[in-house]
């Protein structure tokens, strides 16, 4: 089994690590870098709890090997808040009740980041389409969609 030296940026910080070829990105983030905000859910690419941004685009970290991120930049849920200020998505998920148990929330927020980058003012249908790679077993989705719509408004109007 081969091991590989990878260099990557995680939440703006440079990391250099020796990883086994079969190390999953989700395990690298959680077990090697101790960034446990990224969740392991189904681990079969279905639930989206392990979603992170890779060069600004959302992917499922349980379906990617750590060696595949050589030279690339990753953002996890821990990288969203700036100077103790929660990201508008984080704030609005709290305010709109976009979570109950919270396990799926980091994944939903990372997928929402990608969605709002490409569609800054989505309608309800676009939000549902943009989040269809993520599962929540508590909320029924209505409040998740509301959270994203409110965050989009706040990010657009800056209030």
């Amino acid at each position: 089994m081969s091991t590989h030296r990878i260099e990557c940026q995680v939440n703006g910080e440079s990391h250099s690590a020796e990883v086994a070829s079969r190390r999953l990105l989700s395990d690298f983030l959680r077990d090697d870098l101790h960034l446990t905000g990224t969740k392991r859910g189904c681990e079969t690419g279905t639930c989206g709890a392990c979603s992170v941004l890779l060069d600004g685009e959302v992917i499922k970290s349980c379906l990617m090997l750590a060696v595949q991120v050589q030279g690339r930049s990753i953002t996890t849920i821990e990288g969203l808040a700036a100077n103790e200020q929660l990201h508008p998505l984080q704030k609005n998920f709290m305010q709109c009740g976009g979570l109950q148990c919270g396990y799926c929330t980091p994944g939903f927020i990372m997928a929402s980041c990608d969605l709002l980058k490409n569609t800054p003012q989505p309608n309800c249908e676009e939000v549902r389409h943009g989040l269809n790679g993520n599962l929540c077993r508590c909320t029924g989705y209505t409040q998740i969609v509301e959270s994203v719509l409110h965050a989009a408004q706040e990010m657009h109007h800056g209030n």
């Binding site: 089994m1 070829s21 079969t44 989206g48 685009e57 379906l63 060696v67 269809n132």
Partner: protein, 293 residues
């Protein structure tokens, strides 16, 4: 997941040599989204993964006014969906790619990986077949071009030799008046894999259909061209009646698979419905006009 070596060759020849050396113990990894699933469930346990991510030949989307579109095998679904060249020269392909699976998979999975995996319940191969696309395979022995029908052999099986790589997909120039429509049917909104897909590319003048290529996917082991249905459309004025006739021919001619996601009879019924709707959408006709539902 079992242990394996991970290699990143820098040329097609080097990759092909590795594939020849390791034989069945090697697998190519492109985006990896489907392969990781198969390996983690131990359906596949290669001892060598050969990454094609750093092969320049497999990247990029270009257009040549004589040849048409060249789509590098490493193009991700999102790249195909957003490409201005694809949107201009094969808009139905861009619309299809925007619907594959979910955002995370579209950002990771590649069109080349998708075709090589040859999963029956997926979107790209049927759409490419209707567009008369071909694939370019490469190895140390040279390159060869296969049509989609030659390339796709069976359930999870392609015509690739063990030392070959998929380099690119070619979509030929579409004649003036060409229009395409791709429709997928999901059993539930939460599913990401179609149960039925219908891809129809026609050359249309008003309501007259001059040429038609129709491919049914996801309900058969590999996408299937429906030539009797194409003949039925060709040269005709398309109305709701004809859309129903074409749908009936398709339902008669396919051999749908039966599995946990849907019985063969359910798939046949949905293929009929989705075909009728696809023809109607493409020719802008009211589906219920003069026909009992």
């Amino acid at each position: 997941m079992r242990e394996f070596d991970f290699a990143e060759p820098r040329s097609v020849a080097e990759a092909s040599q590795m594939l020849a050396e390791y034989g069945d113990d090697a697998r190519i990894i492109a985006g990896g989204s489907a392969l990781m699933l198969a390996m983690r469930q131990r359906m596949l346990a290669p001892t060598h993964l050969i990454s094609v991510a750093r092969l320049p030949r497999l990247h990029g989307i270009d257009f040549d006014p004589h040849q048409g579109l060249r789509i590098g095998a490493m193009s991700r679904h999102i790249d195909v969906a957003r490409s201005e060249l694809v949107k201009a020269h094969a808009p139905v392909l861009a619309r299809m790619a925007a619907q594959v699976a979910n955002p995370q998979v579209r950002n990771q999975g590649t069109i080349g990986g998708n075709l090589c995996y040859a999963d029956p319940s997926t979107d790209p191969p049927g759409c490419l077949m209707a567009l008369d696309a071909s694939v370019v395979l490469g190895s140390t022995r040279g390159e060869r071009v296969l049509s989609m029908e030659e390339f796709l052999v069976d359930y999870y099986t392609t015509a690739m030799e063990s030392d070959e790589l998929l380099l690119e997909i070619r979509v030929p120039l579409q004649a003036p008046g060409t229009l395409g429509e791709y429709t997928r049917f999901l059993r539930t909104a939460a599913e990401h894999r179609p149960l039925v897909s219908v891809a129809l590319v026609v050359q249309r003048e008003g309501q007259i259909c001059h040429q038609a290529r129709l491919a049914i996917g996801a309900s058969t082991p590999i996408p299937t061209r429906l030539r009797r249905a194409e003949d039925c459309l060709r040269g005709k004025t398309v109305n709701a009646q004809l859309a129903s006739e074409v749908a009936s021919i398709v339902a008669e001619d396919i051999q749908p698979v039966s599995d946990l996601r849907g019985s063969s009879e359910f798939r046949r019924a949905m293929v009929r419905t989705v075909t009728r709707r696809t023809v109607a959408t493409l020719f802008g006709i009211d589906i219920n006009e003069g026909v009992a539902a």
